[in-house]
Symmetry: C2
Subunit: 264 residues, 2 copies
């Protein structure tokens, strides 16, 4: 997942649980699809299936928004699309800037899912002079020297960072200084921002690592014991030597030393 969040000051009444907020886009997507097929109403059961959650959860989620359904019938698709859009703030137009136009930035620039949800790519920004002026997904790339100007002129409050990790923090700082208060970070690094600025992160490799964890477990399960090169070693007892000091000689798994992970 990808969460990111800056502490909520414990706020007031009108609180929609964060977990619910995170699912609203899912419901919206499912509803939009139904709307396109001109389906007039849906039951919580059907909509839940389409969104990939269970119906009790969906009903509970909707109950935080208000009573928008009709007992014995279900929910009016169009009406719900509107209510959720409004709740998410998608009834207004959100100009967004994407910084870092490499492969990923280009993919984001051309991603249809943005435009269709109230987001408008206001500008593509890159530090490489060779990119300046080059159109990507139909939008000319601008140089990062103009970052502040662009943000101010367009009243941009949401920025997407798709730069290498090394420069992400400084790009972030500039965005924040220029007035951006929400950041979607694709760089594999932790950004620090002042209070009042929201950061959400998406790390592609983290998702894969979580899958690997479960995958590994499946493999170990069906064999009871193990068979791979990296055997199960210990499992039950927490044993394992905590104090494995001395940089060069930490004794680890069966494979002598040095884990198999080493970035470039």
């Amino acid at each position: 997942m990808a969460t990111g969040r800056t502490h909520r000051p414990a706020t007031r009444s009108r609180g929609i649980p964060e977990a619910t907020v995170a699912r609203l886009p899912l419901y919206l997507r499912a509803l939009t699809a139904l709307s396109e097929r001109s389906v007039p109403t849906v039951s919580s059961e059907e909509l839940a299936a389409a969104a990939g959650v269970n119906s009790a959860k969906l009903r509970k989620d909707f109950s935080y928004l208000g009573s928008y359904g009709t007992r014995g019938v279900g929910y009016d698709v169009e009406y719900l699309v509107y209510q959720i859009s409004r709740e998410l703030g998608l009834t207004q137009d959100w100009p967004v800037v994407i910084v870092g136009i490499g492969n990923l930035g280009a993919a984001l620039a051309g991603y249809g899912g943005f435009a269709s949800r109230g987001f408008r790519v206001a500008a593509l920004i890159d530090a490489d002079p060779a990119m300046t002026g080059k159109p990507v997904a139909g939008i000319p790339v601008q140089h990062s020297d103009d970052l502040e100007k662009i943000i101010n002129e367009d009243g941009v409050s949401i920025g997407v960072i798709a730069t290498p990790a090394g420069v992400a923090q400084q790009v972030c700082d500039r965005l924040v200084a220029a007035g951006v208060t929400s950041i979607l970070n694709f760089a594999p690094t932790v950004l620090s921002v002042p209070d009042g600025v929201d950061v959400r992160k998406v790390d592609l490799s983290i998702e894969l690592q979580i899958l690997a964890f479960h995958e590994q477990r499946k493999a170990g399960e069906e064999a009871g014991a193990e068979s791979g090169p990296d055997s199960g070693t210990d499992t039950g007892a927490p044993a394992a030597p905590p104090a494995a000091r001395t940089a060069g000689g930490s004794r680890k798994g069966p494979d002598g030393d040095v884990p198999a992970v080493m970035p470039a």
Copy 2:
């Protein structure tokens, strides 16, 4: 954020909470950075800051893995890197196939974060014949007709779907039929898979929508008055309310019971 099916068999021993598993990659990343700077040990406080979580949470997380720290000192960086890598299953090599080589697929193919974490891009697959043979990030694209063969020959168990939503389910079905048991889905659609197959999804526009929700709230807040983000509301009228009538009837929505205009 999205877990796949496969719920805890309950009976299985060694349960590391899902929330903890999701953070292990974060710790690993922070530790890898420290390791590169040859830092020998870290305290929970320091590591937590580097990973963007609080220290109590980090210590609790590590307690599920075992007692790998030294009281009064902290954790041995190298040792912890190894332990977490092993727990995540990253000490082995995971061949991965990426299906759908558009902008996003190309970005993924070239993403350094994969290779550095035990993942190996075994193949890039696309349905467009014009792409076949073309090298992307140094790897030649193969045609989807050969999908099953590729998966079998390489013993691939993890697949990444970066195709348009319309074909995602069928690609998924083929991957699963060929033996893939973990899928990372970038297509904005819900995939249905048999039990035993894990799916995680990453939807770029969902993250932005969540940011918009908070952004909207901020805007409404500084305007002083309460009354939610949609204060004025009124807004024309149409839309199709389910059945908002009857005095004292259902009125819970933040905006009384008067519907509002449907956005385009």
